[in-house]
């Protein structure tokens, strides 16, 4: 009897199942656990209440990011509640011997940026974090997904979580993308086609030339956004691009261990003939620069198009109307030319060096539009350093922009980086939910190129006209 061809996802999942409970979840062993200040304190309290300890402290890594200021990080944090959460992370990690890169640490930054850039994230791993954008790490051929605080407590106390194995979906994008099309446009396009719930219950493998040719930064952007169509996570088979990115990073294997690891990682691909529960294929030539017009990431469109009418968009007409009303937009209006008050580049979606290179390529030789407030927030200190070393900071400064310090910032506006009520922001982050960037804020999600074009013109602009 011949063996059934396996998917990449099956290989990684099945090799981590400690136990499969009949008519129940699998007990999944977790290789890497990231924690941050917002979703971990109650998990540590839970451990104390039950008298439990941390089973493998060396497999958990802490960074402060969600609730941190992006200016004057050397000063004490002003908001007492935020300061208290940061202090709790520091004392909890010290108590249990967990690595902690807090504010001021040169390796501090957004959890999904620092994991990969320090070689903590590796192919074939299972990775979890109390943050839905943990899906980012799937770019390396890892199974990575977000969990709740009860599950954080499970991982701390037993290095395992209990999960129903998701169904499998493959999304193939063939061909090559055109001028001015970034990985963010590819993912916003896919989500607009599948809707914000189109992949719920599934784990998605991305395949095809577009992803094969993509950089690791780009793959991270795509996998990051998987959750925005409801997927448990996204995964891309590791290849030479992956290995070249990891090699030499601080926590990556070295010497013989490296060779052994690469030999194993090369086996991590979906076999010919393996089946998926659902498959989609898209053509890269159909993708133009994308922008969202509504209040979930599925409400996206090509930047030169008009806002769809409710019937075209699907779903309930009442929810669609509520969404457009919140945004102050009408069906059939163009997005081009709409006024922009704020521009945010950063986040675990688009806060890596390639994103700032793209942003700088458009603002170079131009000036920030009067009336636009721009927040330029690197994903980590290492990215910040690259921005300086590559001369990007000089370009930004000459164009009238300022660089802030790393953190999640205006992506979820837990700190002071809040877009005021009624104002419009073009944002490279991941969610355009009502009030996501501050109560009453109106978010248009887009790529770093679209963000840059808006920042220098003050209106929604097709970046291809400025390239």
């Amino acid at each position: 009897m011949s063996k059934i061809p396996a998917t990449l996802f099956d290989k990684v999942w099945d090799s981590h199942a400690v136990r499969k409970i009949e008519d129940g979840p699998d007990v999944l062993f977790i290789d890497r656990h990231f924690i941050h200040e917002v979703t971990s304190p109650v998990a540590f309290l839970g451990l104390e209440n039950r008298g439990l300890s941390v089973m493998f402290p060396e497999k958990t890594f802490a960074t402060a990011d969600h609730n941190t200021p992006t200016i004057n990080q050397h000063l004490p944090v002003q908001d007492p509640l935020s300061a208290n959460q940061l202090k709790a992370l520091e004392s909890n990690t010290a108590k249990y011997g967990i690595s902690h890169w807090g504010l001021g640490n040169p390796r501090n930054g957004i959890v999904h940026v620092v994991g990969p850039e320090n070689g903590i994230t590796l192919p074939g791993m299972t990775i979890v974090c109390g943050d839905s954008h943990t899906s980012t790490h799937g770019a390396f051929g890892a199974i990575a997904f977000g969990i709740g605080t009860s599950e954080v407590e499970m991982v701390l106390s037993s290095q395992c979580i209990m999960q129903q194995k998701p169904k499998k979906m493959r999304i193939t994008v063939t061909g090559t993308t055109g001028k001015g099309i970034t990985p963010k446009d590819v993912t916003l396009y896919i989500i607009s086609q599948l809707t914000a719930a189109g992949a719920t219950g599934y784990f998605v493998e991305y395949a095809g030339e577009v992803f094969e040719q993509m950089s690791m930064e780009g793959r991270m952007t795509v996998c990051n956004m998987s959750i925005e169509m409801g997927a448990r996570g996204g995964i891309i088979a590791p290849d030479d691009t992956t290995f070249a990115y990891i090699k030499g990073r601080e926590k990556a294997p070295q010497g013989a261990a490296w060779d052994n690891a690469v030999a194993y990682w090369k086996t991590l691909k979906t076999e010919e003939g393996a089946t998926f529960d659902k498959e989609y294929t898209f053509n890269a030539a159909d993708i133009e620069p994308m922008i969202t017009y509504g209040t979930n990431p599925g409400m996206g469109m090509g930047i030169t198009q008009r806002i769809p009418v409710a019937q075209e968009a699907g779903g309930s007409a009442a929810s669609y109307e509520k969404s457009l009303q919140y945004m102050g937009f009408q069906e059939q209006e163009p997005m081009l030319g709409k006024k922009v008050d704020y521009v945010f580049i950063g986040s675990c979606t688009n806060g890596r060096i390639e994103d700032f290179r793209a942003f700088a390529s458009i603002v170079k030789g131009r000036q920030k539009a009067a009336g636009v407030t721009a927040w330029i927030v690197p994903g980590s200190h290492i990215v910040e350093q690259q921005i300086r070393e590559e001369g990007i900071l000089d370009i930004l400064t000459a164009a009238g922009f300022e660089l802030r310090q790393p953190g999640c910032s205006a992506c979820l506006a837990m700190n002071d980086d809040k877009v005021p009520a009624g104002k419009y922001a073009v944002s490279t982050s991941n969610r355009n939910f009502e009030g996501r960037q501050g109560p009453g804020s109106r978010t248009m999600l887009a790529s770093p190129l679209v963000a840059a074009a808006a920042a220098v013109t003050g209106v929604v602009t097709d970046p291809r006209e400025l390239i």
Partner: protein, 198 residues
Amino acid sequence: MAYDKFTVLKSTAVPMPIENVDTDQIIPARFLKATERKGFGDNLFRDWRYNADGSPKNDFVLNNPIYSGKILVGGKNFGSGSSREHAAWAIYDYGFRCVVSSFFADIFKNNSLNIGILPVQVSPEFLHKIFTAIESNPTAELVVDLPAQTITISATGESETFDINSYKKHNMTNGYDDIDYLQAMKEDIKTFATKSMY
């Protein structure tokens, strides 16, 4: 934390026929700054429930005194977005023990089960019937029977079954959680860990 046992819940329900209710609406990020699990119910649906000056928005269902109960009935794709368990905590702390929808986001569903809220997924047709029943009579009761895996509209007797795996069902009816289970298999986990290359 282990939680209250869940067997049969008979209650009136609060209707919220909105699709894609994301966890940022259930509890906005600025209310995630606590280091303890308490008081989240006060800020449940904060920005739909209150104006910027703190006065209640009269057109929001939680501010409408004719609706109350331990069951929240939401539209399709309930609980999407952020993984914040605070969303489930807020729903629990407010007093709900069961959320009904035609479709749940995965992480929200897991979080709910982990703290003792039962997510009940029904067909779009049955969801419509529930909304109609509650809106025509706010005192209409629903009966959620976990052992039988049924949800029934008391007034009409219309009923539908719902899915839950037998492991989770056993946990909820007994008030056990996953941590209890994992602690009991630590030796197996230790052995497994010795084989890990990471």
